[in-house]
């Protein structure tokens, strides 16, 4: 009798423990969502132990992906020429490793080309080793961490454009929040010189493949196919990195603002290699052309000088305008205390 009561008590205790844990987790979800509290030590420790397995599987997955790509290519060839297809199949099978290396080489060369052109950035190349299985959020894991000079809030790019930023840097791996994530927000500008309208690009939970450029005034000069670049406001993303282009424009419900659906320049489904910007400077100005000192061109130089002064005045005015816009944006962000912060 007492034994069965003891068992019953134990069972009740376990049920109570389960209910307590569930209630605790439920409360944590809302507290973490509102306060953005993180537990970096636990996450970093788990990532440290998990990363070797992820790297191995990712390497293997890259090979499988390359193999499936090759198979697809061979199927097309089959319809054109059966004999040639067989030959290609044999060659593909033999050169699987070589083609994987070539593909990686091409990607890294493109990345290196961007790295050499973008002299204002110091970058570290990285590969993606982990993704989520369901797209509630868009966070990927890369194989670079604190030991490689990567730190929180560094921008991540490819040669095609902006990818996201580091949200948690571990020892040898880091989590990158993509610009598709609903919690991400990037300060941006329309690249077209006569427009330069500022807005925020943020992820859309209902359409994880196409973020939105929001907070655009209804009468602002924004058209479809306008290129969007980062504005540099906020300090996370350096200025001038391409984000994408406006695919569609829709009016907001309130009637004062509109938003644009953005087609990103980076193909996030095929993202394999990225670069982390560990240091960014202002782009160096183009070198001035040498001026030949002679009596004949003295007047020309004076006219050039006047033009340059006029130009510099215009630039100053533009900078003032942008600072003003940034201040207005910051004020708006301060008002929206409940939402995420614009980067």
């Amino acid at each position: 009798m007492s034994r069965s009561r003891k068992e019953k008590n134990q069972s009740q205790n376990k049920t109570a423990a389960i209910i307590f844990i569930l209630a605790f987790v439920l409360c944590s979800i809302f507290i973490v969502a509102k306060t953005n509290v993180q537990v970096p030590a636990a996450g970093k420790t788990m990532m440290f132990f998990l990363s070797p397995f992820q790297k191995t599987f990712s390497w293997f997955g890259g090979g499988v992906s390359e193999l499936s790509g090759s198979v697809e290519e061979m199927q097309n060839l089959q319809s054109e020429n059966e004999t040639l297809r067989e030959e290609v199949k044999k060659l593909r099978a033999e050169n699987l490793n070589a083609s994987e290396a070539l593909s990686e080489n091409q990607r890294l060369r493109a990345l290196l080309g961007y790295k050499q052109n973008a002299t204002q950035f110091d970058m570290v190349a990285a590969s993606i080793v982990g993704r989520e299985s369901v797209t509630w959020s868009s966070v990927v894991t890369i194989n670079r961490g604190l030991l490689d000079g990567v730190a929180d809030n560094m921008a991540v790019v490819t040669e095609l454009g902006l990818v996201g930023h580091i949200v948690e840097a571990g020892l040898n791996t880091s989590k990158v929040q993509l610009i598709l994530d609903p919690r991400s927000s990037v300060g941006t500008l329309i690249q077209r010189p006569e427009s330069r309208v500022a807005g925020i690009v943020e992820g859309d939970i209902n359409n994880p493949n196409a973020p939105k450029m929001v907070n655009i005034p209804k009468d602002a000069d924004v058209k479809e196919d306008d290129m969007i670049v980062t504005s540099g406001f906020g300090g996370v993303y350096p200025k001038g990195i391409v984000v994408g282009k406006i695919k569609e424009i829709h009016n907001d419900e309130g009637g004062l603002l509109k938003h644009g659906i953005v087609a990103t320049t980076v193909n996030f489904e095929k993202l394999e290699d990225v670069a982390v910007i560990i240091e960014s400077r202002e782009a160096p100005p183009d070198p001035l052309p040498p001026v030949i000192q002679s009596e004949a061109n003295t007047e020309v130089d004076a006219a050039e000088l006047a033009k340059q002064m006029e130009l510099s005045k215009q630039v100053q005015q533009e900078v003032r305008d942008r600072v003003k816009q940034a201040q207005i944006q910051q004020l708006e962000q301060a008002k929206q205390s409940g939402g995420g912060t614009a980067n």
């Binding site: 844990i21 979800i29 998990l50 992820q54 499988v64 989520e132 299985s133 369901v134 797209t135 966070v139």
Partner: protein
């Protein structure tokens, strides 16, 4: 003895999670691929009962929430509820029976989808449920059904192996 069993399960979970996050996304559709942690939780609940199902949900949820940078707690909460629910059927089905876990995969995926989207809705996101059912739930169900038999067989055989060698 017990330590050996725990270590074996830990290795299995880590390997499956590494495969889920790094290898299986290559066969994903629009960013959705199979969720092995969900299948693992359901199969464990069927084989061992609701207490182990909840425990497995807790462990896989913690692993997923800490390492992916997703919305913290959503996976822990949903996996624990699913482990609890399917564990209640543990003593009513034959554990060797593989059809029931396969049939339960769409239900588990649907439960997971609605728990997480409801939590996101309560957090404050505007959710277009119909659109998300089409873009996330439908492919997820197909993937879960495709892998459920394999994972249940793996869990069932691994359990026997761990008991024999533990």
């Amino acid at each position: 003895m017990k330590l050996n069993i725990i270590l074996s399960w830990a290795i299995l979970i880590i390997l499956m999670y590494a495969a889920q996050t790094s290898l299986l996304p290559y066969i994903g559709y629009n960013g959705v691929s199979v969720n092995l942690m969900l299948l693992l939780t359901v199969s464990t609940a069927f084989v061992h009962g609701y207490k182990h199902g909840v425990l497995m949900g807790l462990v896989t949820g913690i692993l997923q929430d800490f390492t992916t940078g997703s919305y913290f707690g959503c996976s822990i909460f949903s996996y624990m509820i699913i482990g609890l629910f399917f564990g209640k059927f543990s003593d009513r089905i034959f554990k060797e029976q593989l059809l029931f876990p396969v049939l339960s995969a769409p239900l588990a995926a649907t439960m997971y989808f609605f728990i997480v989207t409801s939590l996101l809705f309560l957090i404050g996101y505007k959710i277009d449920f119909l659109h998300m059912i089409q873009t996330i739930l439908q492919p997820l169900i197909i993937y879960q059904v495709a892998f459920s038999w394999l994972i249940h067989k793996l869990v069932y055989d691994f359990d026997k192996f761990a008991k024999r060698h533990g």
